[in-house]
Amino acid sequence: VSGAGAALRPCSSRVAQDGINKPVIDRIIRVDHAGEYGANRIYAGQMAVLGRSSVGPVIQQMWNQEKSHLKKFSELMVAYRVRPTVLLPFWNVAGFVLGAGSALLGKKGAMACTVAVEESISEHYNNQIRTLIEEDPEKYKELLQVIKQFRDEEQEHHDIGLEHDAEA
């Protein structure tokens, strides 16, 4: 195995799993996990303000989907032994403040925030899909599937946001 070569490179004693590009996968999972965590906090902030309004159920449903996204990335994080971002406490607060702040501007504000965030998340996921396909679509099939599905769901959120933004 890589004992001979790796031992002289005084770095990790860990062996790469099945020859995946660990640094790239690490970064992808860490960023996605942080992103979903932040999105969770944004929706939590919005719910805190607009939870009992007419748009409450819509936000709650989108929030539930983000929770399931976060759960999936947490599982991937453990499976690939990726470390979480050190900025988690910061995203915790910043996300909540952004969500609550935009909700205080009213339903339109909250929806506009959702649209903007989901748009940039979708673009970000698309970049990652491109990167993984360039690397090796076969090797990263499972991860690609997950990211594609999440990208589609974030796109849905974006469209829901537009719908309600236009209405309100």
């Binding site: 001979a4 031992a7 002289l8 990790s12 004693s13 947490s74 406490p89």
Partner: protein, 316 residues
């Protein structure tokens, strides 16, 4: 003339391959060492005792004819038979050669310390010239880093084996504090044969040049221990746990340097206490958090009651 040309081509090929292997290695010895090591291999094949300057000329004059060099070094590094000439067909990479020299040198560390002397002695047992020590820094950095890396690998294998036993149901799953204690003790016990010279090694590991590597080795070892302990945190706990365990490991290591009790029992008792402290700390933190949450709930309840009372009074 033809033989000389062939010899030059082979020597050039070896140098090119050695350079290629080294370029992939992040911790490279200086370029002059490449030529030294190629010549060393030649020296080991042909003449063990002669100074390498003359033996490299010998090499050019008498290569085996019609030999095709292999493209890649063989997988696990080749076993060295110790007889000159039989290994000349075997192209191992620069890294593998250095790895073998350093492994051989470890035996001489208790006597010579982490120095070029130990490396030279190690090289001699492999039948290489003592000039092999020139491949490495004179402060023994590579030797120490190699040793640490080997210990970490041994620890990982040990933990993986234990994990397999637990999965097969042949062993009980240890409680966290016992697991951490045993893992740290197992890792520190690997220092015992070298304990006299270990303080010297610690100071070398702290040289600015070595800090990236030594820090990397330390953090991945701690991460490995937590991984096998079953840590699955994906929040800030990930960092807290590793920081705590790193502190425990480092302080216990320092205590061990000064421990003269039989079988290092003072060190293991110190370790037990630190791990217990860490467990208490985390329990306290959980308790503080739940207390905090309870207090907040109480305040919210009081606020709601007061505002309801106010509203109902207003209605009346």
């Amino acid at each position: 003339k033809m033989a000389a040309a062939g010899g030059l081509r082979r020597a050039g090929w070896r140098l090119w391959r050695a350079r290629r292997a080294v370029v992939r290695c992040q911790q490279c010895p200086p370029l002059r060492a490449l030529q030294a090591s190629a010549a060393l291999r030649a020296a080991s094949d042909e003449h063990k005792k002669e100074p390498w300057a003359s033996s490299s000329q010998q090499h050019f004059e008498s290569p085996p004819a019609g030999h095709q060099p292999e493209e890649k070094p063989q997988g696990p590094h080749p076993s060295y038979t110790g007889q000159g000439g039989q290994e000349s067909e075997d192209y191992e990479s620069e890294e593998q050669l250095q790895h073998r020299i350093l492994t051989a040198a470890l035996e001489f560390v208790p006597e010579h310390g982490w120095t070029a002397e130990a490396i030279a002695e190690g090289a001699k047992t492999l039948g290489l010239s003592v000039a092999a020590a020139g491949l490495f820094h004179s402060d023994g950095s590579e030797l120490i880093l190699h040793f640490v890396s080997e210990c970490n690998t041994k620890l990982s294998e040990l933990l993986k084996k234990e994990q397999k036993l637990v999965q097969l149901g042949e062993a009980e799953k240890k409680p966290i504090d016992e697991f951490l204690r045993d893992a740290v003790e197992a890792r520190l016990r690997m220092l015992i044969p070298y304990i006299e010279k270990w303080p010297q090694a610690l100071s070398v590991l702290l040289l600015p040049r070595n800090i990236p590597s030594s820090l990397n080795l330390l953090t991945s070892m701690i991460d490995d221990i937590w991984h096998y302990a079953g840590d699955q945190s994906t929040d800030f706990n990930w960092y807290t746990r590793r920081a705590v365990l790193t502190a425990i490991y480092n302080t216990t290591e320092l205590v061990m340097m000064q421990d003269s009790s039989p079988g290092f029992e003072d060190t293991w008792r110190f370790l037990e206490n630190r791990v217990a402290d860490a467990m208490t700390m985390s329990n306290t933190a959980t308790q503080v958090q739940s207390t905090g949450e309870a207090v907040v709930q109480g305040l919210m309840g009081a606020a709601v009651t007061v505002s309801n009372a106010g509203t109902s009074r207003a209605v009346r």
